[in-house]
Amino acid sequence: MAEIVPLGEAVRELVHDGDVVALEGFTHLIPNAAGHELIRQGRRELTLVRMTPDVVYDQLIGMSCARKLVFSWGGNPGVGSLHRLRDAVEHDWPGPLELEEHSHAGMAAGYAAGASGFPFGIVRGYEGTDLAERTRVRWIECPFTGEQLAAVPAIRPDVGIVHAQQADEAGNVQLWGISGVQKEAVLASRRSIVTVEEIVPALEPRPTAVFLPGWTITAVALAPGGAHPSYAHGYYDRDNAFYLRWDEISRDRESFRAWMERHVLDREASPV
């Protein structure tokens, strides 16, 4: 049964240096508050996993939290590059960053396999691409048709972190709208943290809702606004202006550092 704890405590107890950590979110409900707490607590040597790393991963990389990135598309959606990610890959600043890259289909299959307890998932893809040599893909043959398919290893993070709209007192969680791979990320992970906009007396079923029972979650933490600058369907809209601004802020190492100190390091975890 999920414990409801302050975000700072959840991160302190569940995320350790060197862990494989997936902060998932597909443009919606991105766990930015949890990412900022990882930065404040100075986690190091993390393997960061996410299909679509964006601003918060750019921040984690620029603040030296990561040694490796597992991903399938890394950019500032609708804007352009992630300058901190590029700086790490192109110039080893603030340190070298190992990459393991997939296609979306491959990574989604890896998460689904992880959630199902399978050692691998299958994709009809990768064939003929240079990607196949750069990712952890193996070829298997269909025992019925002889067709060759790509096998991708199950994704099994040490910690899965997602943001949701609501939890109840028992730590059951409901999120709705675009749900990405959040369910798979939580179920595939050994430990999990879910930050939520609010804790409600009872979760009322909704269209498109994904429900995660409290007994599948390690910790739930209250973090209102915790998805900003992404959005929380029914709570607040995407701060598109910030994504555009981030392109400026993150272009330059000094302005990036200054922004992080002012807006993340000097801030407390969202009070509970």
Partner: protein
């Protein structure tokens, strides 16, 4: 309010040219940017029953304005259904039920292979690009794939720095059947599969296209000249412009 002789940008011409190729009722797998513009323009003009699927899991999205990201709330609010990302890539994309996939790229080669991973050496890239995303499986499993990118000697190259997406994959689909650039359109030769310039925009010459291509560009003996965007197309396209990025908190 319409203008007598419409002025338009290269991007607008590209979006219009791509939109015109979509028949009504086409099921499209679209990303952000020009593809999203083209597919929504088609829906707003001659192809109102076209179905837009975004990889964020929204099926039948009908945004009034162009989303800035593929996961904008407007997509979920207007969609017929919202499914998980693993489902979109398994049941829907690899399941082979999508007519047209749209892709962009940083580089394209004469056979329609695409690079969206790195410029330069992989280990020490000059430019690290966002990466594959959905592209390899979109090209492999949509019935056909339209590519949209500007035509320059830097983007149209004899040899890709990295092969992210196969132009004529051994998948369920025909692969890249059309490349829409800022000069015109290319289509693969039925025999060789090599891209041939088949259509040119107004005031663009075959020589312009050759100059903007990093290989010996083949040009069709009879290139069609593309009609410029009509007033109706331009108005519909401009009406789709994203609203300002200011955030609303509730």
């Amino acid at each position: 309010m319409t203008v007598a002789t419409p002025m338009y940008t290269a991007d607008e011409m590209m979006a219009v040219a791509a939109a015109r190729r979509l028949r009504n009722g086409t099921v499209c797998f679209v990303g952000i940017g020009l593809p999203s513009q083209a597919a929504n323009l088609a829906r707003a003009t001659h192809a109102p029953e076209s179905v837009l699927i975004y990889e964020s899991g929204t099926i039948g999205a009908k945004p009034r304005h162009l989303p800035l990201s593929i996961g904008d709330g407007a997509l979920a609010e207007t969609a017929d259904a919202v499914v998980s990302v693993p489902e979109i890539f398994s049941y829907w994309l690899q399941g082979g039920r999508i007519d047209v996939g749209f892709l962009g790229a940083a580089q394209i080669d004469p056979h329609g292979n695409l690079n969206s991973t790195v410029i330069g050496d992989y280990e020490r890239p000059k430019v690290r690009l966002p990466g594959a995303g959905g592209a390899p499986e979109i090209a492999a499993w949509c019935h056909e794939t339209f590519v949209m990118l500007r035509q320059t000697t830097r983007t149209f190259v004899e040899r890709l720095d990295f092969l992210t997406t196969v132009g004529r994959p051994r998948g369920g689909g025909a692969g890249v059947t059309c490349v829409v650039t800022d000069l015109g359109m290319l289509e693969p030769d039925a025999q060789t599969g090599e891209l041939v310039m088949t259509e040119l925009y107004p005031d663009v010459t075959a020589e312009d296209a050759r100059q903007a291509t990093g290989w010996e560009l083949k040009v069709a003996p009879e290139t069609r000249t593309v009609e410029p965007p009509s007033d109706v197309e331009l108005e519909a396209l401009r009406a789709l412009e994203p609203t300002t990025g200011e955030t609303v908190r509730t």
